[in-house]
Point group: C2
Chain length 464, copies 2
């Protein structure tokens, strides 16, 4: 057995009871100490993330703010305690037979393993939303660090360890696995002391870990968020009225962070008319003027390049525009990627399932339809999604076939906006039907995300 994995699992199990039964105020203090510690890293952290991930400093600073906000949001959840959802059915001694008192609460599942994502080196990594949610409800956490940002992971891991010590919590409440191999990832999911897991990343990685979680002697819940193509459906009259807003917003959402978001808009459905022809021209201009960007790692960039090449060869699909190409800058050539905009028609889209697969990077596919009737057909052909977006006049889509179809396919419906930019709040649903995630009943962003890590326990006592 992998010794690093075994030590971490045993330490987490040893810490579980003390941590799970600690008052919510203690867990809140812990989460706030982590947030404070991250802020105190100052520019050291920003520079480290920038160096490892190529994400610009402004983006990193924003992500750090979000990460600390998340930690403090979950601190509030831990402190308030309402998350336990206590229910209490009173006893009735007069009933025949006497009715007992049954009280139930949500309780932490046990030691949790969190797989850090590459595309959010802070907000979905060592002290990201998954860690905050699991710690808030009393699960010790073991993070499998992402190999794309090892120094960042170590910096944050050290902050968490110091926060635990400051709060008088046992060491095992948090561990960081720094060995980046797939074997280590599998070993921790398979360890009998681990009781729940969460993952954000690729479909291949997520499914492999999810299967391993199910094939254990004691299967455990494992939530994998595996991304999606986040379709947009734009109605002609709305496009005509918001042409520039849609063109610039769509281009920004498509290329934000070099397209490396699980909510990146991968496919856009349009009705072929004057307004959409104008949009294509405008988007082509914007994409053509887009500088190449550094992706998170060379392997991600390689996958992007081969997906683009494959798509470019498909019958019925053509490249509408390309941005600055990778070769224009040789400094970081191995991870440099350019934006690519493809265009096809509804029939081609429906008949080629490959066009409904995620291309992770700054590329989108425009699908020209004969009429909005094609939208429903296309929507029904989709697999599960994190988001689906509709641009339409207010009320126009209420009770429509399209809205119904999309509600069956996606966890979040965006009206007149763009899917990137996931608000962290009480109502957010960042999840969706398979293969966007492994279980559409849970979210990995927002306060609802704690439900991945808890189970109800009831206590029954006789009527007096």
């Amino acid at each position: 057995m992998n010794e690093e994995v075994n030590l971490a699992a045993n330490a987490a199990a040893a810490a579980f009871r003390q941590y799970a039964t600690s008052p919510g105020s203690k867990r809140a203090q812990f989460l706030r100490e982590i947030a404070d510690g991250i802020e105190q890293l100052g520019d050291t952290l920003i520079e480290c993330v920038n160096r490892e991930t190529a994400l610009p400093a402004v983006r990193v600073a924003n992500e750090r703010a979000r990460t600390c906000m998340q930690l403090r949001l979950f601190a509030g959840i831990a402190e308030q305690g309402a998350w336990t959802g206590e229910r209490n059915d009173l006893a009735d001694a007069g009933r025949n037979p006497p009715k007992p008192n049954v009280r139930s609460c949500l309780r932490p599942l046990g030691p949790a393993v969190i797989f850090a994502a590459s595309n959010f080196p802070l907000a979905f990594s060592v002290a990201g939303g998954d860690t905050a949610a699991a710690l808030a409800v009393g699960c010790p956490v073991i993070v499998k660090a992402h190999p794309a940002h090892p120094e960042t992971s170590a910096l944050i891991g050290k902050v968490i360890g110091e926060a635990a010590a400051k709060c008088g919590l046992p060491n095992g409440v948090f561990s960081l696995l720094t060995d980046g191999t797939h074997e280590t990832g599998l070993a921790i999911v398979q360890h009998p002391l681990i009781k729940v897991g969460a993952f954000t990343g690729s479909q291949r990685g997520g499914l492999a870990l999810w299967r391993a979680a199910q094939q254990r002697d004691e299967p455990i819940p494992f939530f994998a968020e595996m991304g999606s193509i986040n379709p947009l459906f734009i109605f002609p009259e709305t496009l005509a009225r918001n042409a520039e807003l849609i063109a610039t917003g769509l281009h920004a959402s498509m290329t934000l962070g070099v397209g490396q978001f699980c909510t990146q808009p991968g496919v856009i459905f349009l009705v072929e008319d004057d307004a959409s022809r104008a949009l294509l021209d405008r988007l082509a201009a914007l994409v053509s003027a887009t500088p190449a960007g550094d992706m998170l790692s060379a392997s991600i960039c390689e996958s992007y390049a081969s997906a683009i090449e494959e798509r470019g060869k498909m019958q019925g699909v053509r490249i509408l525009a390309s941005g600055e190409s990778a070769s224009h800058n040789s400094g970081n050539a191995g991870r440099r990627a350019g934006a690519v905009l493809f265009v096809t028609d509804a029939s081609t889209f429906i008949s080629h399932s490959g066009l409904a697969q995620e291309v992770f990077g700054p590329s989108s596919l425009l699908v020209l339809c004969r009429s909005t009737a094609d939208y429903v057909r296309c929507a029904e052909s989709l697999q599960g999604q994190l988001t689906a977006t509709i641009w339409a006049e207010d009320g126009m889509c209420d009770n429509s076939d399209l809205l119904w179809a999309l509600e069956q396919k996606a966890g979040r419906i965006v009206f007149n906006g763009f899917p990137t930019g996931v608000e962290v709040g009480s109502a957010m649903m960042h999840g969706g039907p398979f293969p966007a995630t492994t279980d559409s009943r849970f979210t990995s962003v927002g306060t609802r995300s704690i439900y991945r890590f808890v189970r109800p326990v009831a206590w029954q006592r006789p009527a007096a």
Copy 2:
């Protein structure tokens, strides 16, 4: 493809949108019509159940009352609508960037398949708790009838069909699969239009269906409740003070319904002392005087007989007492079973995992321990359970190692009572860690059980 399965799945999918978007009051009306219809069957139903299952008329009448109560309880849930758990994060146009409005609600997953249990031909069968929960939240239901009570299933199925017609609901809102083969069960779980499943029954059956649900192209949630051995831990001083109450209560709980409950107390931990020796004597007398009973089916009886035979041959295990034996009555010989009480010691229990396996029928195992310190060791050796029971003085077990260990193993902790008799209320947790169920985060009894059938959907709108 199985034609019956295909027709039912297509009808359910066709009915889904209308049913899911119907007002809660409509679904409530439907559930109440079903309850009324079941009551109107009168003695016809009682006689039919009694004939098919050998359950006595009084028990059947009680179960009918519970079934109708459940339907009306879930009608109230549907009508009140609070189950959708709406959350609304308000927009903030002044934030940079502007914060959108995000609202989320729980929504039905889609067509559900429910596998009826043999041991509750009404309460966990065609119009049982699973069906009521799924229908309450807007999932069309396909019930796979249990072959042990086909006429009962047909009677209830007809009532549901008539209730649907009376409420103006489409046919596909409910279908009954009457072909009792395993192939039909697998086929319906594998059907792409089915979105969720629930099962109560054996571990073998539950696991086979759960695996099939995961191995689909689109895996679906499948909740299997597979029973457990429901351990009791009795503290010496409490036993001494409640000797007769515990002896008669335990005997009744052990033999209730010929032991055919998933909460039947299968193993009882005692400290070897004068009080426990007296309990053994009293239990031996009660068991010896227990008449043989008819089990639900010949195959269940056969499994029971072979489990008893195997257990009787185990080293370190002895038969303390046996009730009237099967052969005493030849009228229903193939399904007639006698109570058997076994006794062993803690070391034997821990070293033979077979002793921690469920024996479905009127048999329990007494485990004599040297001290209550053995209780924790034994508790930690257990697999997941639906229930665990502690007989102790008030407050004595608070924060104890035993209570903590049992809370990790079981969904419901019973104090100073017996595990049979599951209250149907808002706080009930009838579930537990694997292998009691396939997902400890859900219950199959009580109003929390609706969460098996729903998922959150969020709607995002821009700040004005």
